[in-house]
């Protein structure tokens, strides 16, 4: 009971302080520069110069502490020894690029980057296009969306039941092995198959992210103006032609957004690998490699260096995002 009270108090304080800041600071600003009296005009101008910074303040502070500072600190750490104290020059970089496990992680990450966003977007588009045409579409959508609500670790547990392997002779309790044995194929210890296990892990993320892609793309498909489709129908276009030549070009921007969002997510993927294989059997990825170096090997220098490699891979997407955002602003 006492715990419950504390939890409620903590939540109330957190949210309350936040609300109070925005409300209070706005009030104070209006108090200092009241929009009436002889100097009303000048006061409004001054208040309007200050107000954006009041509103942006918390966001800037939090982003600085939790995003900007860590990035710069990572850059510094990548040049230091494992404890993060003495300067070591490029030693971490040479060690990293000489590590076979790192090369494996990089290769796997590139595979993930190619397969997962493409497959999720494809299945999402497929699901969106199909469910929009049927009566029970919304029900189907909510079922396909459901995995989005499951944490990566939870999803990994679910898929462990699918990939589970029991020695030959005993009953398979993994769904996949049960299916292949019913076709007379030998059961496999799926997640230990080098190279192919990567794809089996990717399936989990695709399974999760398809729902996300579907919801966004479905909204975009519904936003297409009916006139263009009617015109195509009157011109005698087949459903496939309408889909590929009329609809898809019109939602191209949304597809790109979905694609890049999933791409960024893929670069951070780590829970699934940690839970399923922990990087064994040739399935390591960069984020888990970094986690390994940081919390198991306690090598902050090397961990920061691999973090920077991940960031370097995100950079093109960041630049593209900034470019798109600026285009929207104009």
């Amino acid at each position: 009971m006492e715990q419950l009270i504390w939890a409620v108090v903590t939540m109330a304080i957190g949210v309350g302080v936040c609300l109070l800041y925005f409300w209070g600071s706005n009030r104070v600003l209006d108090g200092i520069y009241p929009a009436r009296g002889p100097q009303a005009g000048a006061n409004i101008l001054r208040a309007n110069a200050v107000r954006p910074w009041l509103f942006l303040g918390p966001a800037i502070v939090i982003l600085t502490i939790y995003l900007v500072y860590p990035v710069f600190n990572s850059i510094w750490l990548s040049f230091t020894d494992p404890a993060g104290r003495a300067f070591e020059g490029f030693a971490n970089y040479t060690q990293l690029f000489g590590d076979a496990k790192f090369a494996e992680s990089l290769r796997n990450n590139i595979l993930w980057l190619i397969v997962v966003p493409a497959a999720s977007t494809f299945f999402g588009l497929l699901a969106a296009a199909l469910t929009d045409r049927i009566a029970w579409g919304n029900f189907a959508k909510s079922l396909i969306f459901m995995p989005m609500a499951i944490s990566f670790i939870g999803a990994s547990i679910i898929w462990k039941f699918v990939y589970d392997y029991r020695g030959e002779g005993s009953d398979q309790i993994g769904l996949l092995n049960a299916v292949v044995t019913s076709f007379g194929v030998e059961p496999q210890a799926w997640i230990t198959l080098p190279f192919w296990n990567n794809f089996l892990l990717m399936v989990i993320l695709i399974w999760i992210q398809t729902g996300f892609a579907m919801v966004i793309l479905s909204a975009a498909l519904r936003g297409i103006s009916e006139e263009t489709i009617e015109a195509a129908v009157l011109d005698g276009a087949s459903p496939l032609q309408i889909f590929w030549k009329i609809k898809v070009p019109q939602i191209w921007g949304t597809i790109a957004v979905v694609w890049t969002t999933i791409t960024i997510l893929v670069l951070k993927v780590f829970d699934i690998v940690l839970a399923m294989t922990n990087g064994q059997w040739g399935s390591q990825v960069l984020a888990n490699y970094m986690f390994d170096k940081m919390f198991r090997a306690n090598d902050f220098g090397l961990a920061a260096t691999s973090a920077l490699v991940i960031m370097a891979m995100v950079t093109p997407i960041m630049i593209w995002n900034i470019y798109e955002a600026r285009k929207d602003m104009k």
Binding site: L56, I144, V233
Partner: protein, 228 residues
């Protein structure tokens, strides 16, 4: 697609079928977990969840009652009892670990030193010996038990009443509720400022915010954990 002229696709059934296939593919793994969560832990580890409605065979090793419970019956000494504590059904039994399914229930198995063992389908056994049973422990009985489908809420009991679960729930809410409200609040005000107010550095700030979205959590976790 509703309300569109001339758009009654003849492929409706194909669309329906594909959606059914998609939905099945996407829900079956989770459904498996749901079924598994209601299954008995012993059955769970020997048979797939899709067999949960059928009878499963489980190999059990029971030990007969200790010889001090033996009774003399005519010229033989008898140990009797039941290998099940509750209900069960034996589909085969054996007297050696190498051959646990050698005998059908009701048959009589020969053991060493002239002893015999009979296990009935309901799990009751009877071991006879021409001399008094001498070993300290009763002989082992290997049986294959056909277990009917068994569903249980035991797993939920274990989880919901386990030590510290209340704390975990509470912590989850203490984290998720403010972690949902506060960022939305902060972001809403920042977004309002960025989109509706004119001030120097607006474009630069917007670019920075959008760019930082892509920062891997790794970059953050690393130095932050070091700082702690």
């Amino acid at each position: 697609m509703s309300g569109m002229a001339g758009q009654k696709s003849s492929l409706t059934w194909a669309v329906n079928l594909s959606v059914v296939a998609l939905v099945l593919l996407w829900t079956i793994p989770t459904f498996g977990l749901l079924v598994s969560s209601f299954r008995d832990a012993d059955q769970l580890s020997v048979s797939g969840w899709w067999t949960s409605l059928t009878t499963t065979d489980r190999n059990i090793v029971a030990r007969a009652a200790a010889p001090d419970s033996q009774v003399q019956d005519g010229d033989v000494w008898v140990i009797a009892g039941n290998i099940f504590e509750g209900e069960g059904s034996v589909s085969a039994f054996g007297v050696r670990a190498q051959d646990p399914t050698a005998f059908a229930p009701g048959e009589t198995a020969e053991m060493s030193k002239g002893r015999t063992m009979t296990v009935e389908a309901d799990g009751s056994y009877r071991i006879t010996s021409p001399e008094e049973h001498s070993s300290r422990r009763g002989p082992r009985i290997f049986a294959t038990s056909a277990e009917p489908p068994k569903f249980t809420t035991q797993n939920y009991n274990t989880v919901l009443y386990s030590e510290g679960i209340g704390r975990s729930f509470l912590n989850t809410f203490t984290v998720t509720i403010p972690a949902t409200i506060i960022p939305i609040l902060i972001a809403a005000f920042a977004a309002y400022a960025l989109s509706w107010m004119e001030f120097p550095g607006r474009a630069l700030l917007l670019a920075m915010v959008v760019g930082l979205v892509g920062c891997a959590f790794a970059d953050v976790a690393d130095p932050t954990s070091q700082a702690l």
